[in-house]
């Protein structure tokens, strides 16, 4: 069985002897040194290429995942925005204000469009998003039934509204929240891939420099020449390009890290704050609709608004004027909300409704505008920063590879003449 694979004993001895001769004595060692330096330079080039490419791909993934995360958050935001307008319009009584209807339509339309974009962009998310899309269809169906009944003056409309808004909260928002978590994990994963890239470069650089330096020291001892110019050139090339690629990697990593602590964190925070704020606005309306039985909604409002305040306080501390504006506008809204609750708890339901459908809407709109502006800016900054952190990397991957090949050629040219001296 082995006879066909293993060389016959005689042949094997010949080969072994030839090999031993090839690497025996000074010429043999020279030959070995030549091969080692060429390989080491090629390894450097390859590893530099892999390092920069890995980083570039990781950052591209981080950017795509972050974009998908922003989209998923935007779907949630638009759904709770639509629902907040719907429930508030219902509270007004009578025909809904055209502006509230338009806002509802716009929220649903934007959510649906963003959902389609997000599903196209990620096959992994498409199934969840498809299910959410079905829920949105059922939700809008229930809303239309609520409307049709309302128009006829039937109290059954209230039951349909309750079904709709509960359906959204039970079947659409939780899977989207889970998807948001998944996207965040993907961004984190991309970041750790990105951090791993430097190890490749360092390994390539160390291997190449050690082999080149050991070879040169050995050559200068063996020969009368202190320096071997081609090998010096190869070493310089590896060192300069290695340091350059390392510099670019460090710069891009620094930039990506800053982005994560800055624009990414801020985008995530603002998106969360907006979702919870719209949800809270719905809870304010639902508590009044429940009329005397709104404790659960009020508790929910308190939880949600505490989240919003915590996130906005943090964002305002880290961020700029946009975040501070959003924080202040939300405080304005909370002040009006406190008056809504005081009126309702004091038995003045009509006054509470008047506030909740009037002044509360005005100040909430200001918050919505301010936080929307802040979110748009931060999200644009996020895209821009991750793109610019990535942009020089592909070029430097090729520069590293070409430098490795060039250094290998130089190393070969440096060792070959010494070897010829022994012929």
């Amino acid at each position: 069985m082995t006879s066909t694979l293993a060389a016959p004993p005689q042949t094997r001895q010949v080969v072994v002897r030839a090999a031993r001769n090839a690497f025996a004595g000074t010429p043999g060692r020279l030959r070995l040194a030549g091969i080692a330096t060429v390989l080491a330079c090629l390894v450097f080039g390859l590893f530099a290429f892999v390092a920069a490419t890995t980083r570039a791909n990781a950052l591209a993934n981080a950017r795509a995942d972050a974009a998908q995360l922003v989209r998923v958050q935007s779907i949630r935001t638009n759904l709770v925005f639509a629902d907040a307008n719907l429930t508030n319009a219902f509270l007004v009584g009578g025909l809904e204000p055209p502006s509230a209807r338009a806002a509802y339509e716009q929220g649903i339309a934007t959510a649906s469009k963003t959902l389609a974009d997000a599903a196209n962009d990620s096959t992994a998310d498409a199934k969840v998003l498809g299910n959410v899309n079905q829920v949105i269809t059922r939700y809008t169906g229930l809303v239309e039934s609520a409307r049709a009944n309302n128009r006829l003056g039937y109290p059954l409309g209230a039951a349909y509204l309750r079904q709709a808004t509960n359906l959204l909260r039970s079947d659409a928002l939780p899977p989207l929240a889970a998807l948001g978590q998944t996207e965040q994990a993907r961004v984190n994963h991309a970041y750790s891939d990105s951090a791993g890239a430097t190890a490749w470069l360092v390994a390539g650089l160390v291997i190449a420099l050690v082999v080149l330096l050991v070879t040169q020291v050995w050559l200068s001892v063996r020969t009368r020449r202190t320096f071997n110019p081609p090998l010096v050139i190869a070493t310089a090339l590896v060192l300069v390009i290695g340091v350059a690629v390392a510099g670019v990697l460090a710069w891009s990593q620094g930039k990506a890290k800053d982005t994560r602590g800055g624009a990414y964190f801020a985008t995530l925070g603002l998106a969360t704050a907006r979702i919870d704020a719209f949800d809270a606005k719905s809870a304010e309306s639902l508590a009044l609709i429940a009329r005397g039985q709104g404790q659960a909604y009020n508790a929910s409002f308190d939880n949600l608004s505490a989240n919003v305040s915590a996130v906005l306080d943090d964002a305002a501390r880290r961020g700029g004027a946009d975040e501070k504006a959003a924080q202040e506008r939300f405080r304005d809204y909370l002040a009006v909300h406190a008056r809504v609750r005081a009126a309702d708890d004091g038995g003045h339901w009509d006054d509470a409704v008047k506030l909740a459908t009037g002044q509360a809407n005005t100040v909430f709109q200001n918050f919505s505008d301010a936080s929307g502006t802040a979110l748009d800016r931060r999200s644009a900054q996020l895209r821009h920063n991750l793109s610019s952190a990535r942009s020089p990397l592909p070029a430097f991957a090729w520069i590293g590879l070409i430098a490795g090949v060039a250094a290998a050629i130089a190393a070969g040219l440096g060792v070959a003449p010494r070897l010829r001296e022994y012929r």
Binding site: N149, N150, P155, W349
Partner: protein, 319 residues
Amino acid sequence: MRRVILGVLAAAVLVAGCGAGSTPQLPRVAPSSSSPAPSSSAPPAPGCDDNIYKSRVASYAPGASWADSATVAKIKSRGVLRAGVAADNLLFGHRNPITGVIEGFDIDVANEVAKAIFGTASGHVEYVVENFAQRIPDLQSGKVDIVADIMTINCARWGQIAFSTVYFQAGQQVLVRKNAPYKNIADLNGRKVCTAKGSTGNENVKSLYPQVRRVIVDNISDCMVLFQQGSVEGIVSDNTVLNGFAAQDPYAQIVGPKFTNEPYGLGFNKANVDFVRYVNALLAKWLDPKDGTWAAIYHKWLPGPLPNPPSTNFDRPLP
């Protein structure tokens, strides 16, 4: 991210009767009171017998000192009467979607009580919207002073709360689709029928028609949504509720005879006997055709000729 979904909105739909039934997707129901729902297992009031009508509906006599009520004095000093009402029952208590105002037969009765206490109802009634299962816990906790929400008087409930004398006579029936082959509730054996948690309708179907598969929801109006979506074949409730549903859906009809007798009383906290006596004195006056208050409310909300008003019964011994 600490997402706080309105967790309390979790589905509370039960399919009873036939254990293997599939749970319908809808409804996700509104938050319900955390207090335990009353059930038929609550011990009935001693000496009360549901099978003897007079024993069941007897309330406290107004007596000569009825107007001298400490509870009324408390309500007066507070400035508002807290009334537990329905907001989804078209004829008896509903929120008018066009005006946003809560109105109906029961609302008018509650308003008359407030008018008697304050001189005018305007600004003196705080409506607390309740589903059926919330009525008794809210009376027991003192959250509301009075419940005016098509509440059937029975002995189990007399064990938990107090009732006024009867102010309306209803009965239970079943609502089905117009083209459906069902002529009465017995035809719905093995079919899904919707009832509301904490309602006598639910208890009656359970004991009288155990073969019917009950789908139990928190709010009776959720039954109508399930019915219109085709998830249930019928709805069992008081004819007062079903008439309101039929008025909102031309494809629905009430079939079969009334299979129960549902005398309605206003609900009170068990301890507020003085308040019950106060309101009983008012009801005795309103039900009298010579006063005409009851007749006016009836004509305002219900079609058809005026029936005889329910007769008062004040034979319950004071505790």
